[in-house]
Amino acid sequence: MKISGSTQLALPPDRAYEMMQDPEVLAKAMPGCESLELIGPGEYRMKMKMVLASLSGAFEGKVRITDQQPPTSFKLAVEGNGKIGFMKGEGLLKLAPAAEGTDVAYEGDVQVGGTLAAVGQRMIDVTAKLMIKKFFEKLAS
């Protein structure tokens, strides 16, 4: 499933870029992220617990940051496995200066499999959008 959108951050581009590379900031902003630990250059091990309505599931996976072009763009790849399914996503984030901070445009592809996808097709799109929205809200705060 393709996902794209844009959002604004009230920070100058170089500062916004820096924040999005900071594992501590990322760990706080990613919904349900319990830990993010460095395992290689630009590569982190992630533990997350997704809680949404009555749905809940623990995921373990990796976050990778590549193709870094500070302060204008980078690629973010996230993959996770859990009892209720797996998810895999890759996206390109582009930062551009705006009147009141930075415009962040994202474009990517998300795949979801397992029980979650078999029965939750109807919910994947809205859930992914909600997660992205929460991520940028927390990042901005």
Binding site: M1, L52, A53, S54, L55, S56, G57, K83, I84, T115, L116, V119, G120, Q121, R122, M123, I124, D125, V126, T127, K129, L130, K133
Partner: protein
């Protein structure tokens, strides 16, 4: 499939429910969404507090110019209530189109609203009715407008430890025309789009128009642009078509395997037009 082991409690009073919630129990209403998720182990609550045996949580009554519906009232009870059919026909019509008869016999209004499924039927009608919810928590009761309650996909302004106790809807004017129209996803019965309309005509003008939309985006909403385009007008076919085209304004449509975002938005516009025409034809 078989759910993960859990503890089950059947409290008798709302206070007992709140006590169990404070200890981490998850409230079980009709179970029409929660139980299937538990069977698939997508949800694995360890404690359930069943609301089904709580006294005074399932009722329909008229009080102070409004209808008050207990949170544990089933869809079937709403659909078949003579009081609701005569005084809030939009809600009865909406309830009659939820899922199938087995779901309507178990599922409850409070459970549906608290779950906040973006494709649930009730929220469209409750938005059009400007309904209020009475929420009960450890520190007492508060009343919240439906628009403030529905925050996002499966996300409401219900705090941990709180439950919906009652839904309040207005008594409809005898002259109002109402309609709930949906395109159901065939397997689940959920709305790909659902449109709830209320219209009151005064003379040859539309004095009040309310339109609630579900299924199209992350949460049910009131299509205020479309409402404003119709109010004060005569409601001729061209005006209806122009207003219906505005129901998707400012909204990002959902895409899934059943319908693309473009198709869903198109369905919303077409069915808004039909629902408005039908409600208008029913208005006295």
């Amino acid at each position: 499939m078989i759910p993960q082991e859990f503890e089950y409690a059947a409290p008798q009073t709302v206070d007992e429910v709140l006590g169990l919630l404070a200890k981490g129990a998850k409230p079980l209403a009709g179970g029409m969404s929660l139980i299937p998720m538990m069977k698939l182990r997508l949800a694995t609550p360890e404690h359930l507090a069943d609301l089904g045996r709580v006294k005074d949580l399932a009722y329909i009554k008229e009080e102070a110019g409004s209808l008050r519906i207990g949170a544990a009232t089933t869809h079937y009870a709403v659909e078949s209530s003579a009081l609701i059919r005569s005084k809030c026909p939009l809600l009865a019509e909406t309830a009659s189109q939820i899922g199938d008869v087995q779901v309507r016999n178990r599922g409850t209004i409070g459970g549906s609203v608290a779950h906040a499924d973006p494709a649930a039927d009730y929220p469209a009608a409750l938005q059009a009715l400007e309904a209020k919810l009475v929420i009960r928590g450890a520190s007492g009761e508060r009343t919240v407008a439906i628009d403030e309650f529905l925050v996002d996909t499966f996300t409401t302004s219900l705090e941990p430890g709180e439950i919906i106790r009652e839904v309040i809807v207005p008594i409809e004017s005898d002259r109002a025309g109402v309609c709930y129209q949906k395109v159901a996803q065939k397997a689940s019965g959920f709305a790909m789009v659902g449109i709830a309309v209320r219209i009151i005509r005064e003379g040859d003008k539309l004095a009040m128009v309310r339109i609630g939309v579900t299924g199209l985006s992350n949460r049910a909403y009131r299509a205020t642009h479309a409402e404003k385009a119709l109010e004060g007008r005569a409601g001729n076919p061209a005006e209806i078509e122009a207003a219906a085209a505005l129901v998707t304004q400012g909204v990002e449509a959902i895409a899934d395997i059943h319908a693309s975002a473009t198709y869903r938005a198109h369905l919303a516009v077409v069915h808004a037009g039909r629902a408005i025409a039908k409600a208008l034809a029913r208005a006295v």
